[in-house]
Amino acid sequence: MDQNNISSPSNLNGKKILVVDDEPDILTYLTVLMENNGYKTYQAQNAVEALKTIQETKPDLISLDIMMPKKSGIAFYRELKLNHETSTTPVIFISAFSMARDFTGPGFRKLIPELDIPEPDGYLEKPVDIPRLLELINKILG
């Protein structure tokens, strides 16, 4: 068995994950990885597509890139959290930014000043460490 498939597909009851990234290669990589680990996946290349898919499929988790055309992941995250239909859906950021400084604590409040919007459920830096990603997903959905 591949070292990156740490959980058996049968345990996961087909939880749904939406992957949002403007780069098709990244979309392919993440969806293949997640499907190999027993999740059902959906793809979106920008915020508009993502919102449509969320409404149609009600995913259990959203993986979100930050730098995307039309609307950044940050702005989209803010919208999701302000919308009561989507505000409870867990979100993890996957981005090439070094996020520890910008996406937690005071740095995060500079990007999103509203105190009732929580910090995301997780953030990982590209290139992602697969075991950490799967562990994080497992923790959130488990």
């Binding site: 780069e23 290669d25 993440l30 055309p69 609307k71 950044s72 090439a96 930014f97 590209k126």
Partner: protein, 600 residues
């Protein structure tokens, strides 16, 4: 001559010959006898009354001296004004003598008058002169006591009769050193001196004093006249002038600016220490030796020859002794006083330090840009690494599951990301290469903008985007690196077209503008494409990223554009509204544009 003859002569002739006007009047004031002089002065007298002839009156005068002498028999002397035979008023000293008969009656009075009109006038002139002359005038006796003084003296030193000269003028108890009055008392000659004293208010007074003897012949005069001209105001003016001169001289001496002044023939008369330093000449080598033309920019000479008075050059070159050009800010003036040409003055501000600071600042900005670029590069490389990781993972996944399609997709991912690495390397080398130098020539910004417009016209048309040019026709040439600015505009127009392409709206408009506002040259690229939200705007110039997806670009374009713009002393600004579009503006203040690259 016998005694009897003398008596006869006296009786017969003296009356006619004395140099006085003599008349005899009786108690009715009738003139009964008069001499030749009287007739010549007052005219015919026979049968006239004295008040008829002297005053042209019909009745006796109110305080008639003759009447008084008739009454009391006393002799009198009186000064009277009388009309002469021409009707003019003259002044006379008149003696009234009673002629007393043997029985003691006074039947007649003899009156003798002498014309003192001239003496009176002289006296008056002297009095006015003495009191009103703008000098202090005092007369001293041999004890140095002031026996007479004039009005101006009293006003200034007060009225203190019987005081000595040195007590009044100098508030001292002994004569001053070198006293000119004492000298005059000892030799009778005129002496002068410059002195200072104290007036009645305790203020210091400066004066020039001249002393001269009042006795014409004696070698040891009894009285000396002192005349002192007050020069306090002149001294104060002189002092103020000196102070003001010293003040200006020290200003000029300690000025940071180099200052050179010349007379009306252009010969240098002033060369301050800053100028010595700037031009590497000693003032002594230059003053009265060299013409100012050698140091000032030719533009100033032109301006003067056109009759103008003032010339300011924000940037000019000053050539020093070693024929080196020093960048300076120059200001020159033609000096005039009431339209009279006095000469010219030139001011130079050494710009070397400022230029160095500017250069250091640009260098610091460049280094910061390099740092940001490296950080941005890491961002891009991370994406590529993840793509490569993904490619390998997907290939393995396809092979594990015997899924050929997935294996192919994995290969494709590897290829994409390897290609992106080449793209990064190429762009980054380009970025690094451009760092070295820019080739500045005098270019026509209009031609450049038209060039870029032509380059994209067809591309835009094929993509269904309306590309427009709004270019000012009156723009003048500017010192720029043609290739560099061309690259900037290509980047901005290409970004704008991409923004329209990825916009949800169909079509789209892009405008390339060229403006020349208040000495600033502006290129503007506007699009109504996708625009950018806050986070992207924040990162757009500092981070190396692309919103265009994996195949469209590396994100270096805007960094390169910013760098080139800064190298031209300009700045880049962005206004962008999400889903409405963006305006990128390159602003180049003309006075900050780089100098022409020297041809080697």
């Amino acid at each position: 001559m016998h005694t009897t003859d003398l008596r006869d002569w006296l009786h017969n002739e003296l009356f006619e010959r004395v140099p006085s006007n003599i008349a005899i009047i009786d108690r009715e004031y009738r003139i009964i006898e008069a001499n030749q002089n009287f007739r010549e002065t007052f005219g015919e007298w026979q049968g006239k009354l004295c008040h008829n002839i002297f005053r042209n009156r019909c009745t006796p005068c109110s305080s008639c001296k003759a009447e008084q002498t008739f009454n009391d028999g006393q002799s009198r002397v009186s000064e009277e004004s009388r009309l002469n035979r021409h009707g003019d008023t003259s002044y006379y000293v008149v003696n009234f003598e009673p002629i007393i008969s043997q029985n003691g009656d006074i039947p007649y009075i003899i009156e003798m008058s002498k014309d003192v009109t001239k003496d009176k006038r002289l006296q008056r002139e002297h009095d006015i002169l003495f009191d009103r002359v703008p000098c202090y005038v005092t007369v001293l006796n041999r004890d140095m006591k002031i026996v007479r003084n004039n009005e101006m003296f009293r006003k200034t030193f007060g009225e203190n009769p019987e005081k000595k000269c040195f007590e009044m003028y100098q508030k001292r108890t002994t004569p001053c050193e070198d006293c000119p009055a004492l000298k005059t008392f000892s030799d009778g000659q005129i002496h002068t001196a410059s002195k200072s004293g104290v007036n009645k208010n305790g203020e210091t007074i400066f004066y020039h004093v001249t002393t001269s003897s009042l006795n014409r012949r004696e070698k040891t005069p009894t009285h000396v006249i002192e005349m002192s001209l007050d020069i306090t105001a002149t001294r104060q003016l002189e002092k103020r002038l000196n102070e003001s001169f010293d003040f200006q001289a020290s200003l000029i001496k300690s000025a940071m600016d180099s200052i050179i002044a010349a007379d009306q023939d252009g010969i240098i008369t002033l060369f301050n220490p800053s100028a010595e330093k700037l031009f590497n000449y000693d003032a002594a080598e230059v003053i009265n030796q060299i013409k100012i033309d050698q140091f000032v920019p030719p533009d100033f000479i032109d301006v003067i020859s056109q009759g103008k008075n003032h010339c300011v050059l924000a940037e000019a070159q000053a050539q020093n002794r070693d024929k080196q050009n020093v960048p300076v800010r120059f200001s020159g003036v033609v000096l005039k006083s009431e339209e009279k040409h006095l000469g010219s003055a030139a001011f130079f501000q050494d710009l070397r330090d400022i230029k160095k600071l500017e250069h250091d600042k640009l260098e610091a900005e460049r280094l910061a840009a390099v740092g940001q670029t490296v950080a941005g590069l890491a961002h891009g490389i991370k994406n590529v690494l993840m793509g490569l990781d993904g490619g390998m993972y997907v290939i393995q996944s396809g092979m594990n599951n015997n899924n050929t399609e997935l294996t192919h997709r994995g290969w494709e991912m590897l290829q994409n990301n390897i290609e992106r690495i080449s793209l990064y390397v190429k762009d980054f080398l380009n970025f690094a290469k451009g760092q070295q130098s820019i080739n500045v020539t005098s270019i026509d910004p209009l031609v450049l903008a038209q060039d870029v417009f032509e380059l994209f016209k067809n591309v835009a048309h094929k993509a269904g985007i309306n590309l427009m040019a709004e270019l000012s026709e009156t723009v003048t040439p500017a010192n720029m690196d043609y290739e560099g600015i061309h690259t900037c505009l290509v980047n901005l127009v290409s970004n704008a077209l991409d923004a329209c392409e990825i916009s949800e709206k169909s079509g789209g408009n892009v405008i390339l503008r060229l403006l020349d506002n208040d000495e600033t040259l502006i290129f503007e690229v506007c699009d109504d494409g996708c625009g950018m939200d806050y986070e992207i705007k924040k990162k757009v110039f500092t981070t190396f990223f692309s919103t265009k997806g994996s195949t469209k670009g590396t994100g270096l374009g805007l960094l390169v554009t910013r760098r080139i713009t800064q190298e031209h002393g300009g700045r880049i600004t962005l206004e962008s509204t999400e889903s409405k579009g963006s305006v990128f503006r390159l602003e180049f203040p003309r006075k900050r544009l780089p100098p022409l690259t020297e041809m080697t």
